[in-house]
Amino acid sequence: MKFGGVMALGNVSTSVAEHSITAIIGPNGAGKTTLINVISGAIPQTKGKVRFQGRDVSGFAPHKAAEAGIARTFQNLRLFKHMSTLENVMVSRHIKTTSGFFSCALKLPSSRSDEKIIREKAIEFLDFVGLGDKANFDALSLPFGVQRHIEIARALALDPKVVLLDEPAGGLNPQETDGLATLIHKIRDKGITVVLIEHDMSLVMNISDSVVVLNYGQKIAEGTPEEIQRNQAVIEAYLGKETVH
């Protein structure tokens, strides 16, 4: 699996191995979220390609990208208003069902069975992220950390090949962050490739198989956590160059 793209912000070309956890890090404004937006089709890219399992998915509309198996979460949570936790996750299962206006209005068997499957599946994913008990709460009424998990469940419910997590640890307390780490491992063990953007270095360093560092839209480094920690360019990017007179 390969992501290569010339971004509006500059030149980023990287590839992500399947069943791996890849972290994309970099200072604010490095273009991390933009990268995710381009991959997931939220914003059309100007140049370059997004290739996914040997197939060119560049310029796909978001729903196409999702069908292709690219799921994402949002940095600033975007759960559906006035919907329960369960319903939020159920929405993602629509992609797997087909019953349309007609059969739904008439409650034809097809739509009933669809509904049943959607519900069961959604509950599975809620349990997977450990929110089985929160199914019937209004999603937006729940604490921040829980909402982050709902977003992840919602993304996983698409049965994606790759899931793009945009700062999943943002605003979480240490315990929640640990929970997140184990969850991300669980996801990887399900055979789903994980790409995450994160500022929480300790998290990044202890979970990810490889790390890509962006700065001003340029890839400045790529490698295992250990390599990255020793990489001069990265340190400069974060701490700034020591200027000697």
Binding site: S40, A42, A61, P62, H63, A66, E67, R72, F74, R78, L79, F80, K81, H82, M83, S84, E87, M90, V91, S92, H94, I95, T97, S99, G100, F101, C104, A105, L106, K107, S111, D114, E115, I118, D138, R154, A155, L158
Partner: protein
């Protein structure tokens, strides 16, 4: 669809059955009948506005298409009421589909203006009658090289379809098999049966994946698309459905009043439909029903105030909107401690 709604539906059905025995005066029944016709339009609108979050100030246009299809086909071309009804549905679906594609890409006030414009254009065509249109078509035809007399012969029967501002009457009533729907009571049962079915189907729809999808679009369209949802077809679908409900209402209106003229389908009517939905409560199709009843019955009760009714009408509308943002139904639900998110 949730126990609450099932019970509500049953109660609703029972009320329909017994009401004519309580309200014996044909006057009350007629008021109820109009309420029923309008509530069909409002149910459709509430699906569109309350669930999908897409406003339309053009529903009177679809209402008109339904009414005129039925009226014209039955009065002028002697077709059966059912033909008129079906043709109305087909035409409305087509129109809604075609204008929906570009229109539903718009948002907020721009969508409001676009739908308003569409409704008004339909109204103007009804008002100006087809005479000018046929003249235009004839002009095109002749320039395309057809013989003028041939063209005019073809167009002759279509010169005055809508009767312009004066409208036209002598629209026969509906008959189901041997049963001719004529008295206010018969109409009451017929109209409200249709409303009941409409409610049933709408509730089914809302509590299916489609309904959830629509609410997702309402909640956050970006996120919905990221979750693999192709939003435009969904919006289109619900837009067409709302147009179809308006169309059925229009056909019923035409056969019920047996006379139609453009005033009934003006912008004011479109706006009134939105008001009805908001007054009843956007968050639930029941709101559409309640809102329509209130806004149809209120003016009748205010008749005792003679000219002052307009002031009191405005005042009551003002108070409802100021103190019941979720409409009457929303208020009732807050009594029963049911939050907004669970309604519908």
């Amino acid at each position: 669809m949730g126990r609450a709604n099932v019970t509500a539906l049953i109660v609703f059905g029972i009320i329909i059955l017994v009401l004519p025995f309580v309200l014996t005066s044909p006057y009350y029944l007629r008021v109820m009948n109009f309420a029923g016709i309008f509530s069909l339009v409002c149910i459709g609108l509430s699906l569109l506005l309350g669930y999908a979050g897409q406003i339309s100030i053009g529903q009177a246009g679809f209402f008109a298409i339904g009414a005129y299809s039925s009226g014209i086909l039955c009065a002028a071309f002697g077709q059966s009421a059912w033909v008129g009804l079906v043709v109305g549905l087909v035409v409305n679906s087509l129109v809604a589909f075609l204008v929906g594609i570009p229109t539903l890409k718009l948002r907020g006030h721009y969508l409001a203006m676009a739908t308003l414009g569409i409704g008004e254009i339909i109204h103007i065509v009804a008002l100006a009658d087809t005479e000018e249109l046929t003249r235009l078509i004839a002009w095109i035809g002749e320039n395309a090289g057809y013989a003028p007399e041939a063209v005019s012969r073809v167009l002759q029967p279509y010169k005055a379809l809508t009767g312009g501002p004066s409208g036209f009457g002598e629209i026969p009533t509906i008959n189901i098999g041997s049963w001719v729907v004529s008295t206010p009571v018969e109409w009451f049962y017929f109209i409200w049966f249709v409303v009941f079915i409409a409610m049933l189907l709408s509730l089914n729809l809302i509590h299916s994946r489609i309904g959830r999808a629509l609410r997702a679009i309402h909640g956050d369209e970006e996120a919905a698309r990221a979750m693999g949802m192709n939003t435009l077809p969904l919006k289109l679908g619900i837009f067409v459905i709302s147009a179809c409900l308006a169309s059925i209402a229009g056909s019923l209106y035409a056969h019920y009043v047996t006379f139609i003229s453009p005033v009934t389908f003006s912008i004011n009517e479109s706006i009134l439909f939105v008001v009805m939905v908001a007054v009843g409560g956007m968050m639930s199709v029941w709101g559409a029903l309640v809102g329509t009843l209130i806004m149809t019955i209120l003016p009748e009760t205010l008749r005792v105030f003679q000219d002052y009714d307009i002031l009191i009408y405005g005042l009551i509308l003002l108070l409802i909107m100021m103190f019941m943002p979720d409409g009457v139904v929303g208020l009732v639900q807050s009594f029963f401690g049911r939050g907004r998110e669970k309604t519908g």
